[in-house]
């Protein structure tokens, strides 16, 4: 029986359908979770999809944090539940303090919709274990105006030390991008960080869109491995296994 994976639907979510579709392709039973709902309907993992949760005019992700479903998600995350935030979902997780850091406006102050390459820093996590290799460039789209990852230096150092940097922007050849490398790191993220883990290793956020790169007809299926990792980990968790990343403190 396929594992149930939830996708939160805020009124302004616009990648919810894409994400449900990608989960379906990955063999999960996709479950839409309405933002007003205070429960998670017994799902084994939750994805916060891309979009503009409540319009996000003020600051991306800020209002969503106060929604009933986010209280449930926070509680779920607290006892080790798997949560993945994609794009706006990442912004919501950061605003809610479920992952470290903040997402500032892209350096050049323009919305950016284009392909980038990211590479996983580690494969021993519920979100990356099905990927072929660490450091291998994965091509997928970004589509955001506020994706510049920011945290103060001490926080960044701690993230590196604790191996909480999950994805970085890299060149097509796989070299880590610099902070001013417009081409490989277009939003100017500090230390080229494209995705992070929480301290427990069970909550992750990333700016690029793996769900839009999960079928070759769409130009890349490099994102499928991330979705599949989550689905497998959810199945494992549902079967009573603990889904926390090995090595994360």
């Amino acid at each position: 029986m396929p594992v149930r994976v939830g996708v939160v639907v805020f009124p302004g979510s616009n990648c919810d359908r894409d994400t449900l579709h990608a989960l379906d392709l990955a063999g999960a039973e996709p479950v839409a979770l309405w933002h007003e709902s205070a429960t998670l309907d017994g799902v084994a993992a939750v994805i916060l999809p891309g979009g503009f949760a409540y319009g996000d005019y003020l600051r991306a992700g800020v209002i969503a944090r106060f929604s009933p479903v986010m209280r449930a998600v926070a509680a779920f995350a607290d006892d080790g539940g798997l949560v993945l935030g994609i794009c706006n979902g990442f912004q919501v997780l950061a605003e809610a303090g479920l992952v470290p850091g903040a997402l500032l406006r892209n350096r050049q102050l323009r919305f950016l919709g284009r392909d980038v390459h990211i590479a996983a820093e580690r494969l021993d996590t519920p979100f990356t274990h099905a990927l072929a290799a660490a450091g291998r460039p994965l091509r997928m789209p970004i589509a955001h105006g506020e994706g510049c990852y920011f945290a103060d230096d001490s926080t960044l150092d701690a993230l590196e030390a604790d191996r909480q940097v999950l994805f970085r922007y890299v060149s097509a050849a796989g070299e880590r991008a610099g902070e001013d490398d417009r081409d490989a790191n277009p939003n100017g993220s500090l230390r080229a960080i494209a995705g992070v883990l929480n301290a427990g290793g069970n909550v992750a956020g990333l700016m690029p869109h793996p769900e839009r790169a999960s079928e070759s007809i769409l130009g890349s299926d490099a994102g499928a491995g991330i979705i599949r990792s989550l689905v497998d980990s959810a199945a494992h968790a549902a079967a009573g296994g603990r889904a926390v990343a090995v090595g994360a403190r």
């Binding site: 503009f52 409540y54 996000d56 323009r110 919305f111 007809i217």
Partner: protein
């Protein structure tokens, strides 16, 4: 012109004395009161009434295979089989964008999206066709920046991918930019919903944003009077778009339709509540009684006329059976949308406006819409027809541009890097082109392709408008626009299903401008008939004039096609080294209206290349069949910049050079840079060449083998009679061989636009 104070109200509202008389007739001889007059003024504006263009539009071919809804509805709808249908429509937001580029463009996107989901279709794509003046000009740069941010700011937030469009710079748009937006939606045919108000006793429900003073007079004044920048009287209170509200509106509307809760649905655009109520009532032969105080307001003490004609964005009007009102209310409230019963359907055929039991206005619904005034305008061709490109383009070679006689390689580099031909990446990178996870081909390389989940099918779409040729010959310009838009769809292997169009022209009361419009519509109709595609809808934008003059006539054509097997899709990029390059079709003389002419100026003897519609149809039928048979590796049509630029694009996009020899009967400039239509650059695996040639013969289409793909340079040799002597005789001294490194082409193409706009930093 008399001072405003003493000018009678109807004139201040943009109505002529004749029109006032016509209103008297519609009201059985009675004087309209001010509220009624305001309602007429909006509904009889050019924008809402099509009073100048209606007689012309009637001549367009609208019947075709699978047409489910055509002109007259909010959007055209064509069946795709499997119970699916596609809805599509293009609309202009030129004047609002000239006033406030960000909000003008944003609300333009919002408006056309509403036309799509009003029909019961979920929007799946947006294409934006933009036209501006000199890219080096500070004000133009301000407009481009604002319009592009506005299109993205709205489309990205509602989550509809912007997958294509156009960006054209032409001096004639300096004072009057064009912002045309096309939207495409998918629907289950059984969900098709029409904008009618049947069933007296049914409730009229308004949902979405509250009503404020936005765009009061926008439709009647802004859209139907020449726009001059600093005339505060003609400046509307700017409409601000709220894409989040639109997102809620989409979801709520589609849920209402899905659950069969509405009898009819109409978006609110120009003319606001007046337009929505009169159009829906007229279509159903009913009337509507509006209860003014029931309309949720955003601002205190609004005048009745302000409420009735307000263009506040993100509002919808539903016709609902009383027993379903509670369910409708629940849906809207769940989506966080204000909703109210603002009136009821009546059987008297009138639109009435009531406030606590007193009747403020009573007007026959038909008199505001189907029976609105129609003007038979006078059209006259200009005395001497200009045989030159669009106004403002140099008639003789100008120093900052490549001159005739320049080395053709240098000319090619300038063309490839010119504002109209260089990569548009800097613009479309600001759009989300992949949300929805259906985008197979996004902006950048020809027509857009969107797969249809759960099928092997894909929608293919393109917009094209040829203002340069239209400025010289509006009939030819419109026909060529249709030819190019359909060709762009055909070369992917898809079958063009239908055409939507946005007619951007000047002041119809000027005989030359009206002649341009009528010639444009004639060319549009003839081309659509010859190519077998119905016109399913569109939009007319007139009075596109600034103190500097009129725009070049701009018939913007949107085409939607169907690809039965998305895996058979063919793209423009050279696919493999060693493939044979074949030119389908033959060049005809004439450089007028070409990008080359715009840069180098036109010589006296230049005319327009000719378009043979039968040949165009044959070429498109041939390429579709060749692709269907799997004979074609890549296909790109010859358009802006001519054969040389087409080859350069295929090469750059494929990351491979090419060496070709072009048999030349005419001037090298014509052979290399001429833009005569009905030509396609095709690449084929060598062993398929004979089959392709045979198929071409069967279709009566000439084909010529030019050379092969490979290397890191583009080499074009001209051979034959026109190659040497002929060119000098013709006054052209373009030399006969062109040899450019791909790196140089790439550099020119990549950076041309950002350099022109001063965006590079």
């Amino acid at each position: 012109m008399p001072a405003l104070g003493i000018d009678p109200l109807h004139r201040r509202l943009g109505l002529t004395d004749d029109e006032l008389r016509a209103i008297h007739e519609r009201l059985g001889g009675r004087e309209p009161n001010d509220l009624e007059l305001a309602m007429f003024s909006v509904m009889w504006s050019e924008h809402c009434s099509y009073k100048s263009s209606k007689p012309l539009l009637r001549t367009l071919p609208t019947a075709g295979d699978g047409v489910v809804a055509g002109p007259g509805e909010n959007a055209g709808v064509i069946s795709l089989g499997d119970g699916l249908a596609v809805a599509f429509k293009i609309e202009s937001h030129n004047h609002p964008s000239a006033v406030e580029p960000y909000q003008g463009a944003a609300t333009g996107v919002g408006g056309i999206l509403r036309d799509i989901f009003t029909m019961g279709a979920r929007p799946i794509a947006v294409l934006d066709a933009l036209r501006f003046g000199d890219p080096g000009d500070v004000h133009t740069r301000h407009l481009v920046d604002g319009v592009v941010r506005g299109v993205g700011g709205y489309g990205n937030c509602v989550g509809i991918p912007t997958v294509g469009g156009e960006l054209v710079f032409d001096p004639s748009y300096q004072g009057n930019p064009l912002v045309n937006v096309m939207a495409i939606g998918l629907l289950d045919e059984r969900r098709l919903t029409l904008a009618a108000a049947p069933g007296p006793g049914n409730l009229v429900v308004l949902f979405g944003s509250t009503t404020g003073r936005d765009g009061i007079g926008g439709a009647s004044v802004l859209a139907s009077a020449t726009f001059t920048h600093d005339d505060p009287l003609k400046r509307p209170s700017v409409q601000v778009g709220d894409p989040f509200a639109e997102k809620l509106l989409i979801e709520a509307s589609l849920e209402l339709i899905d659950r069969g809760l509405v009898e009819g649905l109409q978006d609110l655009g120009a003319g606001g509540i007046t337009c929505a109520t009169s159009e829906t009532a007229d279509r159903a032969g009913t009337g509507i009684a509006v209860d003014l105080d029931a309309i949720p307001r955003r601002e205190p003490d609004m005048e009745p006329f302000e409420v009735m004609i307000s263009e506040s964005q993100e509002r919808m009007c539903a016709i609902v059976r009383p027993d379903r009102w509670e369910a409708v209310r629940e849906v809207c409230e769940r989506w966080g949308l204000p909703v109210a019963v603002i009136g009821r359907v009546t059987d008297d055929g009138d639109i009435t406006v009531e406030r606590d039991a007193t009747e403020l206005a009573r007007v026959p619904a038909a008199s505001l819409t189907s029976d609105a005034i129609v003007h038979e305008r006078l059209g006259r061709a200009p005395e001497h027809r200009r045989n030159a490109p669009a106004p403002g383009v140099p008639l003789s070679p100008s120093d900052r541009l490549p001159e005739r006689g320049m080395d053709p390689g240098a000319v090619l580099l300038v063309l490839v890097g010119s504002p109209n031909l260089a990569s548009r990446r800097a613009v479309f990178e600001q759009y989300d082109s992949t949300v929805g996870a259906d985008t197979v081909v996004g902006p950048g390389h020809g027509a857009a392709v969107l797969r249809i989940k759960g099928t092997t099918k894909a929608i293919v779409a393109s917009t094209d408008g040829n203002q340069a040729v239209s400025a010289i010959d509006p009939y030819a310009g419109a026909a060529m626009s249709v030819a190019e838009a359909t060709r762009n769809v055909s070369i992917t292997g898809a079958r063009p299903l239908g055409v939507t169009n946005c007619l951007n022209y000047g002041d119809p009361t000027r005989p030359e401008a009206f002649w341009q419009l009528s010639e444009g519509v004639r060319g549009l109709g003839d081309a659509c008939r010859a190519l077998g595609v119905p016109v399913t809808g569109g939009n007319v934008s007139l009075y596109n004039e600034s103190p500097a003059g009129s725009i070049a006539p701009t018939p913007e054509i949107g085409v939607v096609g169907l690809l039965d097997d998305v895996n058979a899709l063919v793209g423009p990029a050279f696919a493999a080294d060693g493939d044979t390059i074949v030119l389908v079709g033959t060049a005809t003389p004439g450089l007028s209206g070409s990008a080359y002419a715009a840069l180098a100026g036109t010589a006296a003897e230049d005319g327009l290349p000719s378009l043979d519609l039968a040949r165009e149809a044959a070429v498109q039928a041939f390429i579709r069949e060749a692709i269907g048979r799997g004979l074609v590796a890549s296909a790109q049509d010859v358009a802006g910049g001519g054969l040389a630029v087409a080859l350069a694009e295929c090469a750059m996009w494929g990351g491979r050079g090419a060496a070709v020899r072009v048999p030349t009967a005419m001037s090298p400039a014509v052979e290399l840079f001429g833009e005569s239509p009905s030509r396609i650059v095709v690449t084929v695996t060598p062993r398929f060449v004979p089959a392709l040639v045979l198929l071409a013969r069967q279709h009566g289409v000439p084909v010529e083998t030019l050379g092969s793909v490979g290397g890191d340079r583009l080499v074009i040799q001209l051979v034959g009679s026109g190659a040497t002597g002929a060119s000098e005789e013709r006054g052209s001294t373009v030399a006969d061989e062109l040899d450019v490194p791909m790196t140089a082409l790439r550099h020119a193409w990549d950076n041309g636009l950002t350099r022109a706009l001063g965006w590079e930093d």
